[in-house]
């Protein structure tokens, strides 16, 4: 993956001066949003589906920007319409080639998720469910039996596809990716795009699969991940060192709405005051687990655990003909 990251500067996807006035869609809202090329506000229920004017070309458009390698990805890059190019403060790369550490409360573009999905399953998504699957609606010419291949071709550009399930009678498909970040990116990159014909895709988050087989599968995947995580956690315990940290809390009295500008104003005057309130993390409940005598105990657990665990690779390499025979008959 590392060699995917080129040092070439990001390409300018759109010339800001090139957006002509008559390209603007008819006014349906109260203000024109240059990013979405849509009028926003007003009646949101009457979404009109217009084919996107832009489309990301991963090979041509990816490149370095002003953003550090751990910053979120540029949403407009994904949509193919960032006019900042190399001067952008967000990354112009695929999720699989960034070092952006995703936290469950935000998507790969740094947008805040909500507790529940929107009623139409559109939007940023929920932090209560790890969702790797997209609903793709608006498929045409679905009967030609090549739709799996067409979907693979178009969506594979943005991430690793786990599974594609086409509902031929309903004209839609479910596409699962390896990770949620890849799904987030593909959702933005393919929204309102066309496949090989002139259809306009309508992409949403997939609801939970009610099929018991699929649920068991998801449960098993989670358990395997949990096992892996616990093993990693135990191996990290030894390296964990206690750091001392000073935390000061300052109360804001006046009401304010905005985020960054207003915060700067408020934080400016008291900066001259001395900082009080030193705290030692080893006494806080949040880090108590890795401190003191529990550390020694964990080390001994770790030694126990790392040695006897049988390597799964060894077993796997012994797949033989009888496994083909046994395939599906005993599970």
């Amino acid at each position: 993956m590392a060699n995917l990251i080129s040092d070439r500067p990001a390409r300018l996807q759109v010339d800001p001066n090139s957006i002509a006035d008559d390209d603007k869609p008819p006014q349906t809202g109260t203000s024109f949003n240059i990013w979405f090329l849509k009028w926003s506000g007003g009646d949101s229920s009457s979404k009109n589906y217009v084919k996107s004017k832009f489309r990301l070309n991963v090979k041509k458009d990816s490149g370095s920007t002003r953003a550090p390698s751990n910053s979120p990805i540029c949403l407009f890059f994904a949509r193919g319409c960032c006019y900042k190019g190399p001067k952008c403060n967000y990354q112009h790369r695929l999720p699989s080639s960034t070092k952006h550490s995703n936290i469950p409360t935000q998507d790969c573009f740094g947008r805040d998720k909500t507790a529940d999905y929107k009623d139409d399953m559109d939007g940023v998504g929920s932090f209560n469910r790890y969702n790797r699957t997209l609903y793709v609606g608006g498929l045409n010419s679905i009967s030609n039996n090549k739709i799996e291949n067409v979907l693979t071709k178009h969506f594979q550009e943005f991430g690793s596809i786990d599974k594609i399930r086409v509902l031929y009678d309903k004209g839609c498909a479910f596409i699962s990716f390896k990770t949620e970040e890849e799904a987030q990116f593909a959702k933005e990159a393919m929204q309102s795009q066309s496949l090989d014909d002139d259809e306009i895709l309508n992409i949403r988050w997939a609801s939970e699969d009610p099929n018991p087989h699929a649920q068991r599968q998801e449960q098993r995947r989670l358990e395997e991940k949990a096992l892996e995580t616990v093993k990693q956690l135990l191996s990290q315990v030894e390296e964990k060192e206690n750091k001392r940290r000073k935390v000061t809390v300052e109360e804001v009295e006046e009401e304010y709405e905005g985020e960054e500008e207003s915060v700067k104003l408020i934080s400016a005057p008291p900066a001259a005051l001395p900082q009080i309130g030193a705290t030692d993390p080893s006494s806080s409940s949040s880090s108590s687990f890795f401190s003191g005598n529990s550390l020694a105990e964990l080390k001994s657990i770790r030694r126990k655990i790392l040695l006897p665990t049988p390597s799964p690779v060894l077993k796997e390499s012994k797949v033989e003909l009888k496994d083909m025979l046994a395939y599906d008959s005993d599970d």
Partner: protein, 376 residues
Amino acid sequence: MSSVNFKSGEEVDEYPDICERCLGTDRNVKMLKQNNGAECKTCSRPFNVYMWKPSISVKKHSKTIICLTCARARNCCQSCMFDITYGIPLDVRDAALKMAGISNGTPILTATKNKEVKAIMADKLESKFKSQEEEDESSRNQEAARDILTKLSQKLNESSPKFLTSKSDRREHSSANIKDLKNVDISKILSKLPFNGVITPPPADESVTSFFIFGINDDLPQYVINEYIQKFGKVKNLTIVHRAKAGFITFIDRKSAEAFASEINLVGRNKNKATPGILVLDGKYPTRVCWGKPKPLGVTKEEHSKLSLVVTKVLKQLAEKDKKFEKTSRLESSSNSSSSSSNGARKVNERKSQAVGRKAKNEDTKYKTLSTDFEL
């Protein structure tokens, strides 16, 4: 943990639950507190928002997005919602705890969508936490955490992951569907699929650059197949229908296709060259691969399900054929030391190619018997 109010100099009894990772790498963290500054994203009650910069170089402020009560109910960070003790996602943690036989007793506020109910539940939780505070909580927590890890490590030590959710009981799954599948006719689809194909020799028709792949396990991700086949050349088409356990791979040119075929042939999983080659992906997913042009795999759920049953049946038959072949070739080699198993394979292939015309007729009847087998 004690912290001090900036203005009054008094001790603040509330301190946000924020994990080390969110606090950042700086030794000194300065926070802004806004009393009742936002609505908690989980329970929708107003809560005290904290804002800080994880490091000087970061432009965007980090902030808490859920209230302290909700964070404590799930033992997570108020900002990133990772588990505050272990720094791992909550669903992963809950799965680990469940595997260790420890349920986390605190109710999860996601059970309802009703805002008011959520707020009432959160109020109750808050008073519960307050009464608990009188006990010596930090030492209790520490014990609990140690207990959890010890139990988990014991589970991990118990050989392999047999406590994982078992793979689906497909017998139950399929028997429930067999009745519905009785009237589904897929003989047209089956008659075109090259279940009797081979991986070597390549077809005489040079324009064929595609393969039929079947026996695809539902757990085998498409990207694993894609990553593997890309080693041999550019892939023109990839159609994988998991529900039918089958798919097609088309390379852009014959050279890549032949490279792919000879790799499967050389790996040598399958000594019997009269049956489709065996390709084991990701070390644990065996599939059968043979030359064949892309054909329809059906469109309805029922057609796919029925096709997958046939695939399972064919896999068993092929495995039995291979077994028989190995037995006879072993006998041959013991009686005649110069004739190796590969020699035997060649013989079979010769016999096969002579009987091509005959085979085409046989195929149809064979699949008819196959499908009647499933009409129980």
